[in-house]
């Protein structure tokens, strides 16, 4: 609605809060439940304020790529269900859905979190492919961070099913989990005017100037980046954003390690 909303939003930001009253460098309450979906090998039902996502992990049997005969695969797919927001419609994936799945995928793949070699069954012939499906149930902003966190927790809790004669028996799950070497945490920093903050609601997402998604692992090294938004960011913005992302990722890592 045209109410000079961006101008109005800047008044909130200059007061040190976002439109929902949360401080600029704070996340909304995060709560999650694991393995709520019985048909998936691992799942996570995550709520970040009013944002609600569900991630599910399935294992598939496949053949490896020729250049990596002893490595399994990983695939991440984000679906923006029309029920989650008035802006989403049924049909082929939109640019936003493709970006979300690629950025989440990049964070997990490039950090080397999943030990792909452990997914190999017969070298050069049979490997397991991990498929993570993320569904947005309700979109109140920051689907990227919520989706990345949900898929990571779902992966962490996924149990590998029993494999017999080269076929997967989905009815029986072994006690083995996917080996995670790292915990890549994705934090997106947004910039409106001169203000840098994390965890926007839909209100802020409509008017942001630029954003930078930063994925970090346990030893604070950056494994993936994604820049978005129409305006440019300066070197000092990048410094500010990485500092913010590092402190936030430490907090979140502590929370999911519990």
């Amino acid at each position: 609605m045209m109410l000079k909303e961006k101008f109005h939003l800047l008044r909130y930001l200059s007061d040190g809060i976002k439109s929902d009253g949360v401080l600029l460098d704070k996340y909304r309450d995060i709560s999650y439940e694991v393995n709520t979906i019985k048909t998936a090998e691992g799942s996570c039902d995550l709520k970040l304020g009013n944002t609600h996502v569900i991630a599910g992990v399935k294992f598939e049997m496949g053949t490896p790529y020729e250049d990596t005969p002893d490595e399994g695969g990983i695939m991440i797919n984000v679906e923006l269900l029309p029920l989650s927001s008035p802006d989403y419609f049924p049909g082929p994936p939109t640019d936003k859905a493709i970006e979300l799945s690629r950025v989440i995928d990049r964070g997990i793949r490039e950090s080397g979190a999943v030990d792909l070699k452990s997914l190999c069954i017969v070298e050069g012939e049979q490997v397991l492919t991990v498929v993570v499906d993320v569904c947005a149930i309700n979109d109140d902003g920051n689907l990227l961070d919520a989706g990345a966190l949900a898929s990571l927790i779902a992966l962490k809790n996924a149990k590998i099913p029993k494999i017999e004669n080269g076929k997967i028996d989905y009815t029986q799950l072994t006690k083995d989990t996917v080996k995670l070497k790292e915990l890549p945490i994705t934090i997106t920093c947004y910039k409106i005017g001169e203000y840098v903050f994390v965890d926007p609601t839909t209100y802020e997402e409509k008017y942001y100037d630029s954003r930078l998604t930063i994925t970090t692992i346990d030893d604070s090294s950056i494994v993936a980046l994604q820049k978005g938004g129409e305006k440019a960011i300066t070197i000092s913005d990048v410094d500010k954003m990485t500092d913010l992302a590092l402190t936030k990722s430490k907090e979140i890592r502590k929370m999911i390690k519990k």
Partner: protein
Amino acid sequence: MIKFSEGSVVVPGEAVAEGKEYRIGQGFYRVGEKVFASRLGILRIKEEDNFIYLVPLTGVYNPREGDTVIGKIEDFHSLGWRIDLFCPYSAMLMVREVPGYVPAGELDKVFDIGDLVCVKITKVTNNKMIDVSMNGPGLFKLNEGRIIKISSQKIPRVIGKQGSMVNMLKDKTGCKVIVGKNGLIWTKGEPKTEIIVNEAIKMIEDLSHTSGLTDRVAEMLDKKMEEYNKNKG
């Protein structure tokens, strides 16, 4: 025989009463001897004249003459603007109903598509053609501020008896508040007090079926405003 007690929540299709001695009001229909609810709402019984009616909890806005509503400019014609009232029918705002000079052929300089206006419904015909007007006190274009949308059936609770609830919201927080009967509420004030008003309205929406709401909202507002003043000073 009524199967429910006064004030209980009924769902569509629920057999509420049996027998022809009851007169039924809005939200009910009769099949043979039985009376069924057609909407989700709260059952009200007037024992003295055997009358039952329903206070709906959900549903779309039904435009009525004299209501103050908040609408969005949808389109313009040669003589006025078409306004979306966030209900199944759109309204017409004629140029003569707008105070001040409107240059001919330049209607978009006054209100552009997407602008929000606070208007009063002057006429609703039988086939739901709605005329609105901006002549009157408290009717203007909304420039800044924040819009909250709630179910229009819950607006009476936000207004309260003779406006008690909305006046309390204004007095305690110092925000400007305009309540549109179609479910849109406009607030303007300091950012932090706007958030408090927001929370109060969410609370009213969630607890709209309970009694003693004004006292509880007052308590919550006092607590939040005390916190706000402490941090400010």
